[in-house]
């Protein structure tokens, strides 16, 4: 696996917007995805990468769609990207979200290529724009689960 000091540390976590805190619907990690969740807990965003052809893929899959390789590693991402699209939930039927509306879910385009769903911690729904530069922050929810959230990237 590659290493880098570029990724923001867990200490960089910004204040979290109240709407998206609380009793989240927790992920139930699959055994083969343990390195992804372990990395988040350690303050790193790592994405599955085929060791045969270097194709990145998210969400994780057993096989590389480009070369059918089944060997992969978990490559460290810079944590930088931009908002590719977003939705704002105004009516939520799921109990974990019912009292948090309206809240935004963003689709982040990482600068390395993959896209991932997340939430923004410091931008209210009406201020989100497609193309907004963002960087990852690590949000511990339980001892086991840390979620990758994003905040405005004002560094460039």
């Amino acid at each position: 696996m590659t290493t880098s000091n570029d990724a923001p540390s867990p200490d960089a976590a910004a204040p979290i917007e109240p709407n998206i805190l609380g009793d989240r619907l927790l992920p139930v990690p699959e055994p083969e995805h343990a390195p992804y969740w372990d990395a988040l807990r350690a303050g790193e965003l790592r994405i599955q990468r085929c060791t045969s052809c270097d194709t990145l893929r998210h969400s994780p899959q057993p096989m590389c769609p480009r070369c059918r390789g089944s060997e992969y590693e978990w490559a460290l991402m810079s944590g930088r990207g931009e908002v590719y699209s977003y939705v704002v939930t105004h009516q939520a039927t799921n109990a974990a979200f019912r009292d948090k509306t309206p809240f935004a879910t963003v689709l982040i385009q990482l600068e390395e290529g993959p896209r991932m769903a997340s939430n923004l911690v410091d931008v209210s729904p009406e201020d989100i724009e497609i193309g907004l530069p963002v960087e990852v922050v690590f949000h511990p929810v339980t001892d086991e689960i840390t979620l990758p959230l994003f905040r405005r990237n004002t560094s460039n």
């Binding site: 619907l25 927790l26 969400s59 939705v87 105004h90 039927t93 879910t105 979620l147």
Partner: protein
């Protein structure tokens, strides 16, 4: 060996309601009975049964109730609500291959009083599997993924919420002519659409399909046998399905990939279609389907809809003439198949004149059928 052409010979449905007070099995059986009655066929003559993988009534339970003598062909297609046309393709193939002679496709669902799609109860993963990477952030229902795609596509093409609204308004006008429709008695204006609340932005209330209790069924057999039955046969001119393409871009709908195969199979093109039923789980996707099937160029679907282009009386391509999922009922493509057959028969409540080709999409490209009157 001569090619066996396949036809729809019977259609049936139940009433559409918010609370059927009946089991899903009963809804399916009532719809099947109506379809067999329409065809002039009896239960024991059925030898093929197909349904949605999300349906709760197994083929064997249907066969037992119909008194089927020998169930030779049955099965489901495992995707979601969007498999209606794919089932027609599969049933047609079975009839062509001689594996069955009379195939019934059915769907019975308490989609409002029972398990509701809009709740995420049917499709949600509770954070398991791929759900671990989306649901904790609030991607909870089919609507969330589709709204995400639609928002990006609006950004790329300039399509507006008002244009989406005209899909809903036009379909409502069609439903106002259809006594079976849930919203037969309620009108809808573009202002009401634009003032309606967001559910998952950019989708407003009236962009979203209904949730419905009801059932529907259609009966297929060979065109040759169809000619001796009760109704004028409706020929299946093409039927195809699609699930995945490796080079699909984020905002492409499946229609972009299905379209060339469908048109080639039919020997027809978009401009040959006289009327279209399109899977309107959410109004914006009618616009995207019009573009990706090639009825209009990308970015031109919104202007087409806004200028009255999908209205039954005088539109360039009348769409969802029974009111569709937005205003008739959400039968997951079944009601669109039924309306497509009615248009080919000439019996719709918003009948388009001289229909030679009646197009039905049941999933924005996951499957499509072209029906037409018997050419003989």
């Amino acid at each position: 060996m001569p090619t066996t052409e396949v036809a729809v010979v019977g259609i049936g449905e139940t009433d559409y309601s918010r609370d059927s007070g009946r089991s899903e099995l009963m809804l399916s059986l009532q719809a099947i009975n109506a379809a067999l009655e329409d065809a002039g066929l009896d239960g024991p003559e059925v030898d093929g049964l197909m349904t949605w993988s999300v349906d709760t009534s197994p083929e064997a339970a249907i066969a037992e109730n119909l008194g089927v003598r020998d169930l030779k062909w049955f099965g489901q297609i495992n995707q979601a609500g969007n498999v209606g046309a794919a089932l027609v393709a599969s049933a047609s193939a079975a009839i062509r291959a001689g594996l069955a002679e009379v195939v019934v496709i059915y769907r019975g669902v308490n989609g409002r009083s029972g398990r509701r799609y809009g709740s995420g109860e049917v499709t949600g993963r509770r954070g398991r599997g791929a759900g671990a990477f989306s649901e904790p952030f609030g991607m909870l229902t089919p609507q969330h993924g589709l709204a995400m795609t639609a928002h990006r596509r609006m950004h790329e093409t300039g399509t507006t919420s008002r244009q989406f609204g005209m899909v809903a308004v036009t379909e409502r006008a069609h439903a106002n002519r259809n006594p079976r429709a849930t919203f037969h008695d309620r009108r809808l204006s573009i202002e009401e659409h634009q003032e309606s609340r967001f559910i998952v932005e950019p989708f407003r209330l009236y962009d979203c399909c209904l949730e419905t209790d009801g059932g529907g069924a259609l009966v297929l057999t060979s065109l040759e046998r169809a000619r001796s039955l009760k109704q004028p046969p409706v020929e299946i001119k093409a039927a195809a399905q699609f699930a995945f393409a490796a080079d699909r871009e984020y905002t492409d709908t499946a229609a972009k990939f299905l379209a060339p195969r469908l048109w080639a199979q039919a020997g027809l093109g978009p401009s040959d279609m006289d009327v279209a039923q399109i899977y309107d789980h959410f109004a914006p996707f009618v616009v995207f389907a019009l573009e990706d099937y090639g009825f209009v160029e990308r970015g031109e679907g919104g202007p087409l809809v806004e200028s009255g282009g999908i209205a039954w009386d005088g539109g360039l391509l009348p769409v969802n003439t029974s009111g569709g999922h937005l205003s008739e009922a959400y039968m997951q493509g079944m009601n669109q198949l039924l309306e497509g057959v009615r248009q080919a028969r000439g019996t719709s409540t918003a009948q388009v004149k001289d229909v030679g080709a009646s197009f039905v999409d049941t999933g924005i490209g996951t499957g499509a059928v072209i029906f037409g009157p018997d050419a003989r």
